[in-house]
Symmetry: C2
């Protein structure tokens, strides 16, 4: 009998901020960082590519921190670029360790062996989701039923097409929170807000929600903010100030329906 | 910024056997052990209660080991009694840390504080499921798509009622594997085999499947064997010899449908 032996010496645990927060919201930011640890060199990218939206969601972490402060919410984020491993993808999804992202080839991902894929999965994906699950389970045990909100940003121009949407709200199996957030955003802000835009669960972008919200019956939403609205620390903070009451109002509207793990 | 700090010094990782196994089947045994670590004393139980089916699934681990050898399958099991924490339950399910199990009061669980519940969750539930997920993700990354089979035993007499079923096959969101196992059991054995008996997903008994099978679209089944058929090591081995070809045949019948994480 053995315990699981590590298949890599590298491990990049989930980063947890404001863990003592009393609020129900659990903010998750899978694409918080463009950091490529030395183990993986530069993946063959130029310095410009390594800072572009293909490597992370610019502004998402700063926005999430602003929300964390205002909502008294714990924040969990991944410390490694999604080009090493995209924590919002299962290991067999094409985007997990993509050889191409939008218009860019990722040379360091072009010919990964199964072992290299398994090593990245063990180093980045497994510890991130173990950290998320431990924090959610802790809060469920403490009878503070979590509301999961993942925080993302998207590029204004994708494959050459301009995107008009500014604020997308995406759900998976339960649309209650997403609909409440959308209604509050339309009532309280001038943002161009849309449901399941610029993409939806059908595009395979809700892996984190499926792993962590659905098994426990937790209210959930994935937020997508157009990243030209998050272009500076001040803009991120202003967006957090705009969205915090939207989210607080939407969560309050769910209060009559406490989350419970389904029988 | 901090990483998650442990809320307990106690941690009971998932036990992994036959990790190098080449077969697709991943055997999971949540109720493998009746061990109560010293941290939790004797929970106020008599020695007889602490060895009874309320504390574990007698014979399930030995059966699972026999299947692991015959199917070349990895086996993952929990090292702590389900009366400390039942790893097949979410922290808010009544059975997670039950104050009563069938006809027995569990004095050590009668007045748990939220902090005590959170500590047990962190010590037993979180490391168990982190271990399961890491192994599943590793195999998915290696392009060996897992087939999840959880192995349980049940008591022949429950609340005074005799149970006629000998072999129950339970599914959650996808019934393909369960139906194939049931058909093979009826064709190849004389066991009294039934679908979704002696209970089903509607009874809240498929938490492990919801956590680990559904998000990845993995074929899954929960096996329940009446424990009077597992009363000795020889009986466990004989049952493994009976069920191994049943499971192998059922898994082979799925081979035309490789598992893929749903888009």
């Amino acid at each position: 009998m053995t315990q699981a032996e590590p298949i890599t010496q590298h491990s990049f645990p989930a980063q947890v901020e404001n863990r003592a927060a009393a609020g129900r919201v659990v903010l998750i930011c899978e694409h918080a960082s463009c950091h490529i640890p030395p183990r993986w060199g530069d993946l063959g990218l130029t310095a410009e590519q390594a800072r572009a939206h293909i490597a992370w969601d610019p502004g998402a972490l700063e926005l999430a921190r602003g929300l964390s402060r205002r909502l008294d919410a714990v924040l969990i984020h991944a410390p490694v670029s999604r080009l090493v491993y995209d924590c919002n993808r299962a290991p067999d999804q094409p985007g997990a360790m993509p050889a191409r992202s939008e218009l860019h080839d990722i040379p360091g991902n072009a010919a990964l062996t199964a072992q290299e894929k398994a090593e990245r999965t063990a180093a980045v994906y497994a510890p991130f989701h173990a950290g998320v699950q431990a924090e959610l389970a802790r809060r469920i045990a403490l009878s503070v039923p979590p509301v999961i909100i993942t925080v993302h940003s998207f590029t204004p121009v994708y494959f050459g097409q301009r995107r008009a949407v500014e604020f997308g709200v995406i759900h998976d199996g339960d649309d209650a929170l997403a609909l409440a957030v959308l209604a509050a955003a339309r009532a309280r802000t001038s943002l161009q807000a849309e449901l399941n835009a610029p993409y939806s669960a059908a595009d395979g972008v809700t892996h984190t929600l499926r792993l962590h919200a659905l098994p426990y019956g937790l209210p959930h939403a994935m937020l997508e903010i157009r990243n030209d609205l998050l272009a500076s620390p001040a803009a991120c903070d202003a967006m957090a100030a705009t969205l915090a009451p939207v989210l607080a109002g939407a969560v309050a509207s769910l209060a009559a329906h406490p989350a419970l793990t389904p029988a």
